[in-house]
Amino acid sequence: MAGPLALGLVLGLASLSFVMRATGALLPNLPPAITTRTSGLAPALLAALVAIQLTGANGLLHLDVKVPAVVVAAGLAALRAPFIVCVIAGAVVAALLRAVFHL
């Protein structure tokens, strides 16, 4: 990625994150109804990100080595394995399947 584009990405994300964390200090009287709702965002978005990673360029589910990688990572996460173990296991599953079946 070109430098200016990367800088835009970093500064855009950084400034929005700063404002979100600073909201409590700047506006202490936000109604709690708004803030409790935000608790639903992280699970919904992470699940959506998994789904999007598994879709092809046409937007439809694309069955390739990422699917078994996700299944293995989810299984390990359910067994309370640390984050890095899940990530490496997912990558290893994908790499092995690619190497063995030339996918």
Partner: protein, 219 residues
């Protein structure tokens, strides 16, 4: 009960978490190199954003060929939960509004959880938040820097399965959040919204749909 907890006591408790954050930072650095981000921007992102799942989400969008705006959007939406933690910790932080806005940047899921445990109900311990947050911040930035240095040594990202590391990582971040029916409902709703919208809409819209569903289903 409310005597000042010493810095040493506060620092010892999160040491294992700091190690985990360090390794998480390293994996972020390695994957960001594989997604072709310049090394300086990878480290700068960890210095300025300090939020693993948001950075990971933004990177996942870039690695999948999405635009910078979609990536910022995905990361920022994941960080919206810090509005809630920011409100919870603000009264426990020292100084005026400006200083508190800066100090609140040290709140991430882990430092917030430890400060909430250290204080009485509804009143997170500010000192724990700052000391834990500073420790985890150092671990995050140093881990990212080492990962960004190691990344170019590793070789072809696809042969190593690094493209599959993103969905694997998102699942691993999601799983511990699935305590309670609300979270499960939000996750399933977000998943379905993304799958239904992805074939018909440009990138970014499936994520926006999932965010709306998540806000709607959280109660």
């Amino acid at each position: 009960m409310n005597g000042q907890r010493s810095v040493r006591v506060i620092l010892l408790a999160p040491a294992p978490i700091a190690l985990a954050v360090f390794v998480f930072g390293m994996s972020f650095g390695v994957l960001a190199v594989a997604a072709r981000l310049p090394a300086w921007s990878i480290v700068l992102m960890s210095v300025l954003v300090f939020a693993g799942s948001a950075q990971f989400a933004a990177l996942g969008v870039i690695a999948a060929g999405g635009s910078v705006l979609t990536a910022i959007f995905a990361g920022a939406l994941l960080n919206l939960r810090f509005v809630a933690t920011g409100i919870a910790v603000a009264p426990s932080l020292p100084g005026g509004r400006l200083l508190r806005s800066v100090l609140a940047q040290l709140s991430i899921d882990e430092s917030y959880a430890m400060s909430a445990r250290a204080g009485p109900p509804g009143r997170p311990d500010g000192r724990t938040l700052l000391v834990t947050g500073a420790l985890l911040y150092s671990a995050w930035v140093i881990g990212t820097s080492i990962g960004a240095l190691l990344g170019p040594v590793l070789g072809d990202p696809k042969r190593l399965g690094l493209d599959a590391a993103f969905p694997a990582g998102f699942v691993a971040l999601l799983w511990p959040m699935l305590s309670g029916r609300h979270a499960v409902r939000c996750a399933i709703g977000g998943l379905l919204a993304a799958l239904l919208l992805a074939p018909f809409t440009p990138p970014g819209i499936p994520l926006a749909g999932a965010a709306v569903i998540g806000l709607w289903l959280a109660r």
